[in-house]
């Protein structure tokens, strides 16, 4: 019931998103069959809104999945090096095979993302003490190092513009024919939903999961592959949407508790709604210019992250 209301709210946001933009749309002209208005709606607004919904929902689910399998509340693709590694992969493809179809670039990006996540896990394994706080800390620094590497290559190859496009989640360039890959990301996120129980079990830790008869390693690999795939898709189509996968699952779990199967629809809806709201905000705040959705979410996301950390401090004291 409450979930239904949330769906309605997101639908309303989507409707607003269809009408907000530089060139005005009017309902009466659409009804009158005005060709220009229909073209804008069909070629730009609908793709953009769909892209927002898909990217928001799948990134939020990817974040949730990652928190469950890595067993830390503060990880998500942009705090584990996954996003930066995907960007590095895309850069490598742009350097080596600029003509490759986008799906191939995305696949390579996904492989790099998986590699980046693997590197993160490897570093984690060597950390002597497993403090809740040190895990995201290492991830953020790893992200910084990967970012420096990416910047270095991009700088040498004169591709800073391209890198900038990925590092700033920006949907102003989304048109029909340039966002459809996101459906694939959403499909992967759906797999995560279907296999939710297994991931919840895997989240209990290796010993517990194994004693319950679960092939822990394989489930972990599946989970991280899904996360990497979703990340690569989102980065290649709309760029980095920072902290979304971190704050949405945390806020949902504050309200609902930690059962993944129950949380997934809420996380998906809230993720989609939050990204939509931020994008609409970005379009109207400084019209006719646009503020990228990545910038707005960066501010909201890091602030929320900060509050989550400090809230933990008060509880611990």
């Amino acid at each position: 019931m409450r979930l239904g209301l949330a769906f309605l709210l997101v639908a309303a946001l989507a409707a607003i998103s269809l009408t907000v933009g530089v060139s005005g749309l009017s309902l009466s002209r659409l009804l009158a069959g005005d060709g220009r208005d229909w073209l804008i709606l069909w070629e730009s607004r609908v793709p953009r809104t769909l892209a927002l919904l898909l990217a928001g929902a799948s990134m939020a689910i990817a974040g949730l999945l990652m928190q469950i399998v890595i067993r830390n509340r503060f990880v998500e693709p942009s705090t584990t090096g996954t996003v930066e590694a995907a960007g590095l992969g895309l850069l490598v493809m742009t350097l080596l095979a600029p003509g490759a179809p986008v799906i191939v670039k995305m696949a390579v990006g996904a492989v790099f993302a998986l590699g980046g996540t693997g590197l993160f896990l490897l570093v984690l394994r060597r950390v002597p003490l497993r403090d809740q706080m040190i895990v995201p800390l290492i991830g953020i620094i790893l992200t910084g190092v990967l970012h420096a590497a990416t910047t270095f290559f991009a700088y040498r190859a004169d591709l800073m513009q391209t890198v900038l496009a990925w590092t700033q989640g920006d949907l102003s360039g989304v048109l029909r024919g340039r966002y459809e890959l996101l459906w694939l990301g959403a499909a992967m996120a759906a797999v995560a939903w279907i296999a939710a129980d297994r991931f919840t079990l895997a989240g209990l830790g290796r010993d517990m999961a194994t004693s319950l008869g679960l092939a822990h390693g394989r489930v972990l690999a599946l989970g991280l592959s899904i996360v990497s795939g979703v990340t690569a898709v989102v980065v290649v189509t709309v760029g980095i949407i920072p902290f979304l996968g971190l704050i949405v699952p945390n806020l949902v779990s504050l309200a609902l508790g930690d059962n993944m199967r129950r949380a997934v629809p809420w996380v998906a809806v809230s993720g989609a709604g939050l990204v939509l709201a931020c994008d609409i905000l970005g379009r109207i705040l400084r019209a006719p210019y646009e503020i990228p959705v990545g910038t707005i979410l960066g501010v909201i996301g890091s602030l929320t992250f900060l509050i989550l950390i400090l809230k933990g401090r008060r509880n611990a004291a």
Binding site: G144, V145, F152
Partner: protein
Amino acid sequence: MQPEARILPVTPAQSETRAQLALILLGGGVFLAAALFMTLGARGSWAFVLQFRGMKLLGLILIAHAVAVSTVLFQTVTANRILTPSIMGFDALFVLSSTLLIAFMGSVQLSGLDPRLLFAARLIVMTLFSMALYRWLFLGEEQSLHRLLLTGVVFGIFLRTLAEFVQRMLDPNEFMVLSDMLFASFTKIDPVLMGIGWALVLAVTLWLARNLARLDVIGLGRPVAVNLGIRWRRDVLLVLALVSVLVAVSTALVGPVTFFGLLAASLARLAVGTTRHAVLLPAASLTAMLLLIGGQTLLERLFAFNTALGIVIEFFGGVVFLILLLKGGRR
């Protein structure tokens, strides 16, 4: 602690010799690097080359000193070796205060102002900000190092994105003025700012030179320092204010550099093997100069690509940070 003990000196005499040797080697290295930087590949009029490169060299020295000293001081008062002012977002704070200044006053008003006055305004805004922030973070109840680190790092991200957000809200023309003001580089240094920078940094350095023993006592940690008569709150805030000044100077001159200070301070600690500020501060400063001048010489003259030095340093600095974390980052 164990793996490090192997490379540290065992007796005070060894320790003393080691520190002196390290300082001499570092000093010699800096001298050599500076000489190469001034002369290598020079063509045309020597007078022009020396003047042109001399300006750049003065800038590099100033930046290296400011970044290294601010990092060591910050690590002393926060009792850790991982956190640096720039990882905690001090430089983002400077960018943010400059952005806010433009947002509220408008570039027209600002362009009429004396650049020195403008710099002073940015510096004051930033120092006030940082005082408020670090009072809240460091002078509260004692807390876990990792939580503090994470808070600092995320706060840095928050400040950076907030600055970016405010910049996006600016008029594109105002933004142009701002980026002119903000995004200098190692090779393009404003002579007026450099004059102010040198004056400020010399003043801070002079104060430090007279208070080395006090810094050593602060480095013993709050309980022992308070016992020895340090007025903790006042002294820590004072040191943080000095750190703000140093960071403001380096950020105004070259823009944000996240991991450079960490790289220099960590290498210097390794080289001298002591925590006495009389040795550590000059060592860190010299290490930073060696990295910056040597690196710039290598990149400019040998590999012939410009301004990427910042990026290279970021990369290695980041790796050092990871290594420090992996070693446990003892408090």
